[in-house]
């Protein structure tokens, strides 16, 4: 008996239509697993980065900037060059880690979205599976390569600015784009024809369970809050912060050149505080929107989470708590310092734990389908 003929009642959490869409190693299953795995890896990476790299890195950059202003006062141009070389090295380390974190999670979202629209992709299953594989290869290749940029540098590169890790990252991005173009062509073929979407899509989209409804409403509110915060930041702080950035740099060199080292040190400290202030606003804005989108996406796959209703609700509550705690306490870092940073990290951990819980539910769901499929063969 084929997978499509499985008939399990609702108590079992598995329906024939869901099983059909979630065929073993099919495009949809690849994308759901790949998507959740990418998000999980991206979040764990982000937490490790925030705790072990972000803050020590910022302190080291501040130290080198201070040393550079002292070198200005002493007229030591060689030392300036050394300190800026190290600052560039530290900034590249930070930037590539942020890019790795962001791209892993964004590709995870995109994978889940592509899983969702599979019934509207009018291509043969084998081709959809190939496109899903292509997407996942690119989605792993890009962030891993970006992570390596800092360590590989320009070794053996034929170009002046771009190293092999960057080229590999660009190739990964190209694979993702090609896969998306392939899926878009499938959607176009679906829209151009008169095909009906497969039943599983309707079932996923019509999930009216408490868990799905709460994730949907909570996710939309998180996104709205993120937009309002972003608009507030852009309207009130963006241009003043940019002006202060250049102004403080000028104050550093002017005061150092005139021998006013305490004044130059004050400017370096103010510059560090400004960078921290900008970073927490941007992090809060991006995280609250990302968690909102993730909540909506997770609402769609609740039919695939094979857990009791009580446990599904628990994971939803834990997820939404973490989604609020992380951005709110990231913002409070400006006032409360590392205490707020620690609480924000706990918020991120709550989201990771909830995601792991849901992933276990999805694994149980697929295990059940596979077991029943095998038993009936």
């Amino acid at each position: 008996m084929a997978t499509r003929d499985i008939g399990v009642n609702r108590d079992g959490g598995v329906t024939a239509s869901l099983a059909r869409g979630f065929a073993p190693l099919g495009a949809q299953r690849l994308l759901v697993f790949g998507g959740i795995a990418l998000i999980l890896v991206g979040m764990v990476f982000g937490d490790v980065f925030a705790v072990f790299i972000l803050h020590p890195n910022a302190d080291r950059i501040g130290g080198h900037l201070l040393a550079a202003t002292q070198a200005v006062a002493a007229g030591d141009t060689a030392a300036i060059s050394t300190h800026f070389g190290r600052i560039g090295h530290l900034l590249e380390n930070r930037g590539t880690k942020v890019d790795t974190h962001v791209h892993l999670i964004k590709f995870g979202y995109l994978a889940l979205l592509l899983a969702l629209i599979q019934p509207y992709v009018a291509l043969a299953e084998q081709r959809r599976k190939r496109l899903a594989q292509l997407f996942l290869v690119g989605a792993v290749m890009l962030p891993v390569s970006v992570f390596c940029i800092h360590y590989v540098g320009l070794a053996y590169s034929p170009f002046q600015f771009v190293g092999w890790a960057s080229i590999s990252a660009d190739l990964g991005g190209l694979l993702v784009i090609l896969a998306c173009i392939g899926f878009l062509s499938g959607v176009y073929q679906y829209l151009a024809g008169s095909r009906q979407p497969a039943a599983e899509s309707e079932q996923l989209l019509r999930d009216r369970s408490w868990a799905a409804q709460t994730l949907l409403a909570g996710g939309t509110l998180l996104i709205l809050a993120g937009f309002l915060h972003g608009a507030y930041y852009a309207g009130v702080y963006l241009y003043p912060h940019e002006a202060q950035d250049a102004g403080l740099l000028q104050a550093m060199v002017d005061r150092a050149a005139s021998g006013n080292l305490p004044g130059a040190t004050d400017a370096v400290n103010e510059y560090g505080a400004l960078q921290g202030n900008k970073a927490v606003h941007i992090a809060a804005h991006s995280h609250i929107i990302e968690f909102g989108m993730m909540a909506i996406l997770l609402a769609f796959i609740q039919s695939y989470v094979f857990l009791s209703e009580r446990w599904k609700r628990r994971w939803v509550v834990v997820f939404l708590m973490g989604s609020v705690v992380l951005p709110v306490f990231v913002l409070l870092e400006v006032r409360w310092g590392l205490v707020a940073g620690g609480i924000a990290d706990v918020g991120g951990l709550l989201v990771i734990i909830a995601l792991c819980g849901m992933l276990v539910g999805v694994l149980r769901h697929t295990g059940k389908i596979d077991a029943q499929s095998g038993a009936s063969l």
Binding site: V72, D76, L110, L191, T220, L221, A257
Partner: protein
């Protein structure tokens, strides 16, 4: 499939491809040069200050600020177009669940799409024109997305 869902799904996928292509172009042809330029300008500013050549030091800081202004906007545009594209696709999947008629849903989808294109476009135009109108365009686009989002939240609250 309703017209509003078609609009959101197709435009969302197209915008996602556009955002990724833009990011790829920027990473390949401009980002490294921008980063190198910022670092070089800043180092030059401090070196000239150490030589007590303050006019050149100030000019280097201005060059640094200009490059950073462009860099921040390029990265913002890539991430905002990409993020808004995901949002369009997400809503495209569930737009029929909004508690409004199809005509209202279609206009809401059109405002969401227009705002999602206009907002980052206004931001990137600030790089080539520092006058008021690119900022006004970005504000208009972000306002459209925010208002549409509030209506979507309301629509979900009274969903059928």
């Amino acid at each position: 499939m309703s017209a509003s869902r078609k609009l959101l799904l197709v435009s969302g996928l197209a915008l996602a491809i556009w955002a990724m292509t833009y990011g790829l172009w920027y990473a390949m042809f401009a980002e490294h040069q921008h980063l190198e330029g910022m670092g070089a300008s800043l180092a030059r500013a401090f070196t000239r200050a150490a030589e007590r050549n303050m006019a050149e030091a100030h000019a280097a800081i201005r060059a640094y600020a200009d490059t950073k202004f462009a860099y921040v906007r390029h990265v913002d545009v890539h991430s905002h177009w990409g993020g808004l594209a995901l949002l369009l696709i997400i809503f495209g999947a569930i737009f029929d669940r909004l508690g409004f008629g199809e005509r209202a849903r279609f206009w809401l989808a059109a405002v969401l799409l227009a705002g999602s294109v206009i907002f980052p476009l206004g931001v990137i135009l600030q790089v080539v024109d520092r006058s008021w109108w690119p900022t006004a365009l970005a504000m208009l686009g972000s306002g459209m997305v925010t208002v549409a989002l509030a209506f979507v939240a309301w629509g979900f609250a009274r969903q059928r």
